[in-house]
Amino acid sequence: MARSNRLSLAAGVALVLGAHSAAFAGGPSDDKLVIDGEMEIMTRVAPPEGHPLDEVISGWHYRTEETRDLEADSFQNPGMLYVERGEEIWNTVEGDAGKSCASCHEDGEEFLKGIGANYPKWNADAGKPFNIELQINQCREENMQAKPYKFDAADQKALTTFIKHQSIGMPVEVDLTEGDMKAWWDKGEELYYTRTGQLNLSCATCHEDYNGNYIRADHLSQGNVNGFPTYRLKQSAMVSLHNRFRGCIRDTRAAFPPAFSDDLMALEVYVTWRGSGLGVETPAVRQ
């Protein structure tokens, strides 16, 4: 890749603008994400009211051409294997009740359409927002009498990927009017702007103030989550959202909260809202 060209271009833009941050110096690509040449995904949308940025942009635009192409071809996208595995799990009986997901919900592709686009969602019984992983575990324990998945178990990631994938292309929309969702949003916003660790960085420091710029070889995106679980080339595996949250926080040299803790659920509510209107990309492919 022509990194040196990018750098000198970036420097040129910075000089012309005289901007302190040279925002969008490396810049998101102008490409369009069309999966298999037929389904265009909304990857640049107008922000919801109260959003700090002028445009909401999918992380897809910040990746290399090769990575972007991988996601645009569902035959080549390695994440699609997890979708297939997730469908198997959907139809597999587990637990003392002798049920599979399909026993109650029947055809996954039919039942699940649009569901993943509206998570996290208020769960009145639990008194907190639920993401897909928590919803799966509740179903397993209460309806299937099966053991809940441990965080990042292979089957948890595959089933979550399958469920989210049934909403591919549908706009992300979180319902903040249900229950106490707004309070969780507030908490998430506070965490988003809280600087952590020895490096003293918040989510906003990189993903709001400097998206479009390179940190070393890493092109900073807006940190939108519409593609999770995401296939990451670095790990050669599906990566869950809470795994990525923890990785980012760890990189500030801070102690990171447990997966599905109140802090990370609040952050999920807030960060998902920041990507409102983007099409679901699961399984996205990233660096």
Partner: protein
């Protein structure tokens, strides 16, 4: 922007103070945050030993130390790939800043550029919340490494 008041939380400050009390500066070494940065300068050197530019060049590039290339391009280290662009390029930095100013920026850039800067403070305990156990009470660079990096930066001249 909206975050000024949140950046230095009370727990972080308290944690910092506790840790400072625990870490005893070695003889001839200035303890973190014990000398204030004034008018964008830190005139006092942090150690009795003069900075070593060659060692500073290494600490500058070392990902576990300064990791300065993460954010700054620097032609003098062009053998290393992928220089970041979040901070200004450092070619000729010694023509633009004095040694005292560079020391202040490396020690705690927030005392020079303001709280909003993305640049970490490399010799301060005024940092973010929930510092990981292995980093608690530690500065990113040692006093000597700061002096070495400053000595190295002073060699980056265009004129």
């Amino acid at each position: 922007m909206r975050t000024g008041a949140r950046l230095t939380s009370l727990p972080a400050l308290l944690a910092g103070l506790t840790v400072m009390a625990a870490s005893v500066a070695t003889a001839g070494t200035v303890a973190p945050d014990s000398v204030p940065i004034e008018d964008m300068e830190l005139t006092q050197t942090l150690t009795d030993n003069k900075g070593d530019p060659a060692a500073g060049r290494e600490a500058f590039a070392d990902r576990k130390k300064g990791n300065c290339l993460a954010c700054h391009a620097n032609t003098d280290l062009k053998e290393q790939l992928f220089h970041g662009e979040v901070g200004p390029e450092l070619d000729g930095v010694a023509d633009r800043w004095s040694e005292e100013q560079l020391r202040a920026i490396v020690v705690n850039s927030k005392d020079v550029f303001g709280e909003q800067t993305i640049m970490p403070g490399f010799y301060t305990l005024k940092v973010g919340v929930n510092v990981a156990e292995e980093n608690a009470g530690q500065t990113i660079l040692t006093a000597q490494e700061v002096e070495d990096v400053v000595a190295y930066l002073m060699t980056l001249k265009d004129n």
